[in-house]
Amino acid sequence: MTQTSADEGIADGRRTPLHELHVQAEAQFTEFAGWQMALRYPEGTLREHLHTRAHAGLFDISHMGQIALRGARRAAALEALTPADVIDLPAGRQRYALLTNRGGGIIDDIVVANMGAELLLVVNAARTATVLPYLVEEIGSACEIRHLDDLALLAVQGPEAAAAVETLAAGLGDLPFQSVCTPEIDGAPCRVSRSGYTGEDGYEIAVPAPDACDLARRLLAQEGVRWIGLGARDSLRLEAGLCLYGHDIDDTTTPLAAGLGWTWPTVRRPGGARAGGFPGAGELADELAAGSATRRVGLLPEGRAPLRENTGLLDEDGNIVGRITSGLFSPTLGRPIAMGYLRADHAAAATTLRAMLRGRALTVARAALPFVPHRYQRKSNEP
């Protein structure tokens, strides 16, 4: 048997503060972005995935970069690097934002939280080594930048997440979607947001590394909470239509082509009170006026065989009109799903698409995203 996708292998790399708990849980490890991460537990990716949708999954996402910005000019400084509205982000709220490059491509997709005295950024593990020096270089003179690498990060996701997290600190069950607070849990200062990467209701909890194992044990003692590995994290996010950096978005894809134009609000668009002023603003204004050349779309390959990343998408005449950027077998739907980019003229039309799989031509249907409806606990109009 020979592996054709870089999924398995000898695990190497830095360990998270929760490593010993994963070993005890008999995790199978994989190297991801320089970290030794739990790929799956004995139950397996399919059951872990379905458990998260039905109950609650606990994810160790301590590999993600956590960066604090301090200083009076921190919000304006960050707005110089992103099309997002940071200045008007209220204290206790967070939002998804994109760091753009001069061409309008995406350097990273991040979450920005306004913690009152500071801005807190959560960046992709694979991008931390790029983003951190970039922030220091670009805005290090305007604000103080600290890498909070002494914090672990846990996610609790699924319909039973709220009940489990409420037992940690009273009131957390009522925290609105995309709100963030700083409760003390068993004496440890934590940062808790109602957010996640699965499409389910859920929370992300930053905790000092020395307290992380105790917190995880408390959560695992709750009815319905189980460890979930990176394998199911990927299938859950794809069902939810969420992008994975380095696959669905990268330096060459723009926020508009990626369908993430909603992260660029009116106030920062041409004619807005704080229009432009970020890398690639001119390019994106042109793209907004002319329309994007490509669009990110949802795809449903016929049959049971998943179509994987980099598979070409063909029109009826066999011309390449797009490519798949993420593809796997959806445990919820019991069929393959994919996301990819299509030339705009094909993205709009209901044209028949085909893809080649091991010498066979498969029909690929267009699908609305997300594949599985989001179940966020919204209490405001924040997207």
Binding site: M1, T2, T45, R47, L328, P331
Partner: protein
């Protein structure tokens, strides 16, 4: 029943009394792969070379090629895997078999590992 023979690529082979060889992937292989969601098998009648990637097994995330441990002609495939690919995880060396070959070079079988040799080989990987 004769014992199973093993390849370095984690396939097993069992010689049946009728002279055909049943082939599947090992328990080690299914554990490494994780939940099997799709198996693609060759057509009956196809001639395969030793080491040829004649079948594909897919987990949620990854695709893996299955190499033929010996050369021969495909005489049967396990069509039940189309509906129940998870059988490969549940019973890899039984109901989760992939295909049956009529070996064209039976001497290739002697080059495969015994159970004890394969277990030592797997222990060396870990």
């Amino acid at each position: 029943m004769s014992e199973l023979k093993y390849s370095r690529d984690h396939e097993w082979l069992h010689m049946e009394p009728d002279g055909t060889a049943t082939i599947g992937i090992t328990d080690y292989a299914q554990k490494e792969l994780g939940d099997v969601v799709y198996v693609e098998l060759p057509e009956v009648g196809r001639e395969v070379r030793q080491g040829e990637e004649a079948a594909v097994v897919e987990s949620v995330k990854a695709a893996s090629e299955v190499r033929m441990p010996v050369a021969g002609t495909v005489v049967a495939v396990n069509t039940a895997l189309a509906e129940h690919p998870e059988t490969v995880n549940v019973d890899p060396s039984g109901d989760g078999w992939f295909l049956k070959l009529k070996p064209s070079s039976p001497d290739q079988i002697t080059g495969l590992m015994s159970e004890a040799e394969y277990q030592a080989y797997v222990a060396g990987i870990k």
